[in-house]
Amino acid sequence: MDSDILLRMEGIRKEFPGVVALSNVDFCLRKGEIHALMGENGAGKSTLIKVLTGVHKEDAGTIKLRGREIHPRSPLEAQQLGISTVYQEVNLCPNLSVAENIYIGRQPRKRGMIDWNAMHRLSEELLARLDLHLDVKQQLSLYSVAVQQMVAIARAVDISSGILILDEPTSSLDTNEVKQLFSVMRKLKDEGMGILFVTHFLDQVYEISDRITVLRNGLLVGEYETKQLPRTQLVSHMIGREWNPGEMALEKSERGEQTGIFLEAKGLGKKGSIETFDLKIHEGEVVGLAGLLGSGRTEVARLLFGIDKSDSGVMELYGEKLAAIYPQKAIRSGMGFCPEDRKAEGIVGELTIRENITLALQAKHGLFPYIPVSKQKEIAEKYIDLLKIKTPSTEQRIDNLSGGNQQKVILARWLATGPKLLILDEPTRGIDVGSKAEIRKLIFELAAIGISILIISAELEELVNSCDRVIVLRDRVQIGEVSGMEMNESRIMQMIAEGGERYEEAGMA
């Protein structure tokens, strides 16, 4: 049994200024197993992986690879030891060819020159092992994100000697692509590889993993055989309280009466981005935008908030026509927008939590009057309490927080402006179950006090559970709308799959 153990981490501890990220955590990876690492945001999953891959230095504890103690001090060193990682965001060079990406830094050579023929042949063989048949001379960016992800895995597998870490590899893949990835993972597992798999999707964990290690608040909760751990148990291990599915579906009827129309878009559109669409959002209403990636769902939000300029149609607020819209004006009219790409478009990493929270409120005012720092602190503290943001102080840099907490800070930023309409683009993407439930609950509470919400999400279950109406987009065209009894996942999926014509009538009814 012990000879099967590839990797054993014992008593790992890691401290950051003001936070203990990991404390006495054990983790064990065996040969030929897929081991899921689960936990909420801030549980310590990424920190554990970063310790293992040499990004962070552990403060205490030992790491043993095949019984020998190792001290990786950089990702490169970890790689040389045979531990390869594929991160959530693809870390390749899109402007190089597939083969170059696989062999970058270790190109096969002949007489001191790069042996291109060998490189192309080896790449093809390697990809064929993963049932992937590509033209390896093509530029990587020509392929879909899923294929790029596979190329990253192929490279990692080739470098690795037995251990592969997949950090949320599925978050940008669609169902078929996930299937393809899983078949590759099974194949590698059969070859005797140990795979550490991090994901937020419970279904995927139960589909593919053999064992599950659960972390919570930097502590080890336990290691379990997947087959012997019921889902409800897993979830309660992760969030540390009894799981109550009913909690998520807080009664929609608790919402206030929807009376006036807050926002109405008539024939709004922008060439090459989104075809003209009509949209009405009542006060206190939760409206969903469903559609696949690239269906134009984000583009709708960008037009409404004035980040992109429309070239047709009009927008009305409370029945009054708006001449032009740009973010500051949108905020002044009572709108807020949590963008999809939290890192690039949401947070300002270098600034503190306090500054991140008050940024939009200050922008609403303009340069004057300046909100004094004491007042800023007060506002920040109020929302840290209200949204249960985990941080030692308001003066912490926001990029020290976990993803879920960063998202809460962005929500706080908008709540501080006293919005009438919040546009949430994938508010729960890349966030663990616990924070997801919290953020969904918050959406209900906001709607109950009369704030309208427009949610964009790829998770249909999320939309169906929280929305009054769902608008369906497909290939940059608004194809219909569902509400009431006919608002269910299969119906929406059918609309997305089959297109608009047949549903136009039903949808508009």
Partner: protein, 336 residues
């Protein structure tokens, strides 16, 4: 007694500590090598001495560096400040001939503001890379200055103008008051208006700030406009101190000293957080270094070399990586 926040474990040392440390070491060196460096004498009610000299000569650099700090905070750079200084000085002295003092000063400042707005437009509106955009004015600027002076070195004998750069008020050079007021105004702009927050947030992440309703263009234009205006102010002090305007040589290489002062002061070229106090200390350090080298009697041909060595040392002290390596080695030594 409560420890100040920066002394508590885990919080990073404030940036201003390193340039201050460098300045301290430099002065300590001076104290040992030439104690006379610190002598300050009162002659005719005016303070004289090397320290006063540092402050007096350092004012144009300090003022320019403060403007440069704002531009660098937005992840930009303005390499045209030396040329703008020359334009402004030429303009002022040209206008003094036949115009009132305030007209000449306003004309000089106005030209500087225009230059700043021009740079701002290229960078913020047309989105040209800052280095390239300001390179235009760097080259053309001296040409414009030459057109104003008609290729001559203009001189003035107007006492009221000369007072700006040479005069004393309550024993202290008048220009030092100007620099102090500029610092105070920029400091107030940073702490009492939202400009500081917006500048830091757009400098650190333009997209996020735009999504939060900040208007980056307005912020960038303002930063460049202030930088141009301050370069013009420095030009007035500079030309007044020399009673002349030399289109070719006035403020030559000032842009590099100013950038250096900002960087020594702890503001990152990547934009984001900026440190006004650090910049001032950085500018004083550079001027002190120059004065020290001259007082030491270093042969002129080695001056630039000595300066370079010291600057490298200061940059090394500033580098987190270098300090970590240094302390790591010390630890190893004590361990073994």
């Amino acid at each position: 007694m409560k420890k100040p926040a920066w002394l508590e474990r885990g919080t990073p040392t404030p940036k201003v500590v390193w340039p201050l440390l460098a300045l301290l070491i430099l002065y300590l060196f001076n104290l040992i090598v030439m104690p006379g460096f610190f002598r300050v004498e009162l002659i005719d009610g005016h303070l004289y001495g090397n320290l006063v000299d540092v402050l007096n000569r350092g004012t144009p650099l300090m003022i320019i560096a403060l403007g440069m700090t704002l531009v660098i905070a937005k992840e930009g750079i303005d390499i045209s400040v030396g040329s703008v200084l020359a334009i402004s000085g030429s303009m002022a002295i040209y206008m003094l001939d036949g115009h009132r003092l305030w007209v000449a000063i306003l004309a000089a400042l106005g030209v500087g503001l225009l230059c700043g707005l021009w740079n701002g437009m290229l960078v913020a509106v047309l989105r040209i890379q800052p280095m390239v955009a300001t390179l235009i004015l760097l080259t053309v600027g001296r040409g414009i200055a030459q057109l104003i002076t008609n290729g001559q070195i203009l001189t003035t004998t107007r006492d009221s103008y000369e007072f700006i750069g040479k005069g004393f008020l309550f024993g202290i050079p008048f220009a030092v008051y100007i620099a102090a007021i500029v610092f105070l105004l920029i400091y107030l702009l940073k702490t009492k208006t939202a400009f500081g927050l917006f500048l830091e947030s757009t400098g650190a992440n333009r997209k996020s700030s735009e999504f939060a309703g900040v208007k980056p263009r307005v912020i960038f234009m303002t930063a460049y406009a202030i930088c141009g205006l301050l370069a013009a102010l420095a030009g007035i002090i500079y030309s007044s101190n020399l009673s002349s305007a030399d289109a070719n040589n006035a403020g030559l290489w000032y842009e590099l000293d100013a950038i250096l002062a900002v960087v020594i002061g702890g503001t990152s070229m990547r934009g984001g957080r900026f440190y006004l106090g650090g910049t001032v200390v950085g500018a004083i350090f550079i001027q002190s270094l120059t004065t020290t080298i001259y007082s030491l009697g270093v042969p002129p041909e080695s001056i630039l070399l000595v300066k370079a060595v010291v600057v490298i040392l200061v940059c090394l002290i500033q580098s987190d990586v270098f300090r970590q390596k240094l302390t790591a080695r010390k630890r190893k030594v004590t361990a073994s």
